[in-house]
Amino acid sequence: MLGIEAEVRAVSIDEARGADEMAQVVLATPEILDQLAGIPAEVIAINNIFDLGELGEKLKATLS
């Protein structure tokens, strides 16, 4: 869809905060954005994780 390859990991909030190799992009529901404030990654709020349109649009905007 976006023509990119990515490694995807599921991590806890603590792991996202303390990751040795920080992800370029972190996807999260809006409720936990505050918990991720300050991490060195683009944090994207996703309302509907199954909506490929929403995912594609937000990833495209972030990565462009």
Binding site: V8, R9, A10, V11, S12, I13, A28, T29, P30, E31, I32, Q35, I46, N47, N48, I49, F50, D51, L52
Partner: protein, 148 residues
């Protein structure tokens, strides 16, 4: 395969629930009774909910209750509580009728399960069909038909 994660008696339909917390508790308890987690996993999930809010309401009308992999998890598992009358969680995706629960023993299995689950739920009409299913057997058919 997604179907292999659902243990015996792990899918339940009922009219309503007193609250979102009660519905989550009931859904996660299905993982306990189907042999996928220890009782302590229920506390793990409720503690996350109390601390973080309804972060696992990940799509309109759908929650995927879970906690991070831990010793509370005995095997990869999923469960579903479907409510005829939805409950309010406080999420922008309210009201919630489908309360799935998930447990995984490690992060890699967690990603694999989410991938299988996401593939199913993003399939056209699956969500509506689960909401409108007239019997438990119909729900099982929907969840297992795709044999992911």
């Amino acid at each position: 395969m997604l179907s292999s994660y659902f243990g015996p008696g792990s899918i339940v339909t009922q009219g309503t629930s007193p609250s979102f917390v009660a519905a989550v508790t009931q859904s996660v308890s299905l993982l306990v009774t189907s042999g996928k987690t220890k009782l302590s996993y229920v506390d793990d999930v409720l503690e996350s909910l109390k601390t973080l809010g309804p972060y696992f309401v990940i799509a309109p009308g759908l929650a995927l209750a879970h906690a991070k992999p831990s010793d509370s998890v005995l095997a990869p598992g999923m469960a579903l509580l479907r409510l005829d009358e939805p409950v309010i969680s406080g999420s922008a995706n309210d009201p919630v009728s489908l309360i799935f629960s998930m447990c995984s023993p490690n992060a890699s299995e967690h990603v694999e399960m989410l991938g299988d689950f996401g593939q199913l739920m993003s399939t056209d009409q699956v969500m509506n069909n689960l909401l409108n299913a007239s019997a438990l057997s119909v729900i099982e058919d929907i969840l297992f038909r795709y044999a992911l």
